[in-house]
């Protein structure tokens, strides 16, 4: 009997925790999956969306989202005052401004103010380990709760009207968020999304599609957010790298060259008019 009790105790100690659902009733199996900087018409309609990749991650009371500026200084911290109700795996938590709630017509789970820096910054959620995403000309990775790796779109950062969204197509389940969808490298983990799709913890969702598509660096078309692109020599003659000019200094621009159509037109008109003048003078 004593031996049976002994082995039962051993089993209970070692095996029962292993059979239980992972981290049930917690907050940390969660990732930042979408960041939206507002639109040109509603620049304060910003949000950050978290998503659980395991059940029971709704105990977020006291935990926070922190926003950083381009050098890693804290801009603002938004702390949950209560848990959220829905702890189903893959459910989301929406941290949004009042303007975003109005724009998308859904309620938010935590209110933030419009403080996302467009040109460069980062946000972190204090999961375990903390999850962070950085973008643009962000240089303060050492100040974050956890590394965000290379910033997303280091040349132009966040673009009004376009969300950045975590790519969840890798891993075992291409349509579900998994731990492996986070490589701690924002440039690799996030993509530009033409349609912003916030969804709150209750499951209500909204959407916004901007009139201009996400820019594609390297397609030789100067698109929204790009200073130049590939062979777009007018904006940066010979010096367009990663869709920006290579001149040192923030906001550097180049005075452009004369476009090729102008030069060809000039040569053509000189030849045409010169010929007419010569013929006229000789025939008179």
């Amino acid at each position: 009997m004593a031996r049976r009790l002994f082995w039962s105790a051993i089993f209970a100690t070692l095996c029962v925790p292993a059979l239980a659902p992972p981290a049930f009733g917690s907050f940390h199996l969660m990732k930042i999956v979408e960041v939206f900087p507002g639109t040109s018409g509603s620049p304060n309609a910003q949000y950050v969306m978290l998503q659980m990749y395991s059940a029971g991650q709704n105990l977020v009371s006291g935990h926070f989202l922190r926003v950083y500026n381009a050098t890693g200084g804290t801009v603002a911290t938004f702390t949950f005052g209560a848990n959220v109700g829905n702890g189903a795996t893959q459910s989301t938590i929406l941290i949004a401004t009042a303007e975003a709630a109005t724009l998308f017509g859904i309620s938010k789970d935590l209110t933030m103010t419009a403080v996302l820096p467009l040109a460069g910054g980062a946000v972190c959620f204090d999961a375990i380990p903390a999850d962070c995403v950085s973008w643009g000309n962000f240089t303060g990775d050492g100040s974050l709760l956890n590394t965000a790796g290379t910033p997303y779109e280091s040349d132009y950062g966040l673009i009004l009207g376009h969300a950045i969204r975590r790519d969840i197509s890798g891993g075992t389940f291409p349509t579900l968020l998994e731990a492996s969808d986070d490589t701690n490298n924002s440039a690799a983990d996030f993509d530009c999304a033409n349609t912003a799709m916030p969804k709150n913890n209750a499951g209500s969702s909204g959407s916004y599609t901007d009139g201009t598509p996400c820019p594609v660096c390297g397609n030789n078309v100067k698109e929204v957010g790009e200073v130049c692109d590939g062979t777009d020599a007018f904006a940066c003659p010979g010096l367009c790298v990663s869709c920006n000019c290579t001149v040192a200094g923030v906001g550097a621009l180049k005075v452009p060259a004369t476009p090729i159509w102008g030069l060809v037109g000039f040569v053509g008109l000189v030849l045409l008019c010169g010929s007419v003048l010569v013929r006229r003078a000789r025939s008179s």
């Binding site: 550097a252 180049k254 005075v255 102008g262 030069l263 000039f266 010169g274 006229r280 003078a281 000789r282």
Partner: protein
């Protein structure tokens, strides 16, 4: 002034003009490329540095806080780099080539260059000043200004000046060849 008439047929004269024009354009392009590629931009570098200094001085004379350093100009929070093309070197080169190639007397050619080249350089100075001001204060309008408005204005000015000169030469029956 005694008109100078040559014996060449109009077709031959036109052909000579076209060949001389293309030849001078190619020679001019080659000189620029040799300077940039082999001589590390000695000539074009000198040109861009002086253009930047001139533009910054002109902006300062208007009360704007422009600062030049080498071939760069900073105005408020924006920095601009003056590259060879910005100096008007292309348009001046084309004007010079067209003027030298036209079958006229050397005296007329030099007269055309003496008026046309400084005028184009002055107009390009105004172009750079305005683009830098627009870039610093109305960045969204910069593309429109530099891709459409100023190229049209500069090319139209160069073409207009050359045509006026060529007409005066041809009309005065001072063609040579």
């Amino acid at each position: 002034m005694q008109p100078v008439r040559g014996a060449a047929s109009p077709n031959m004269l036109v052909l000579r003009f076209a060949l001389a024009f293309f030849g001078l354009v190619l020679l001019f392009s080659a000189l620029v490329r040799v300077d940039i590629g082999l001589l590390d931009g000695v000539a074009t570098g000198w040109l861009t540095n002086h253009a930047a200094a001139a533009v910054a001085a002109a902006l300062r004379s208007l009360g704007l806080p422009a600062v030049d350093l080498g071939n760069q100009i900073t105005l408020d929070a924006s920095r601009f780099e003056i590259v060879a093309n910005c100096t008007g070197i292309e348009i001046v080169g084309l004007f010079v080539a067209a003027t030298l190639a036209f079958p006229s007397r050397w005296r007329d050619r030099f007269k055309g260059l003496a008026i046309g080249v400084p005028a184009l350089i002055g107009l390009n100075l105004i172009r750079m000043m305005s683009l830098i001001y627009i870039g610093a204060h109305f960045a969204r309008a910069l593309d429109y200004g530099h891709l459409y408005v100023w190229p049209m204005l500069l090319l139209a000015a160069a073409l207009g000046m050359w045509l006026a000169w060529a007409r005066s030469v041809a009309g005065g029956e001072r063609l040579v060849g």
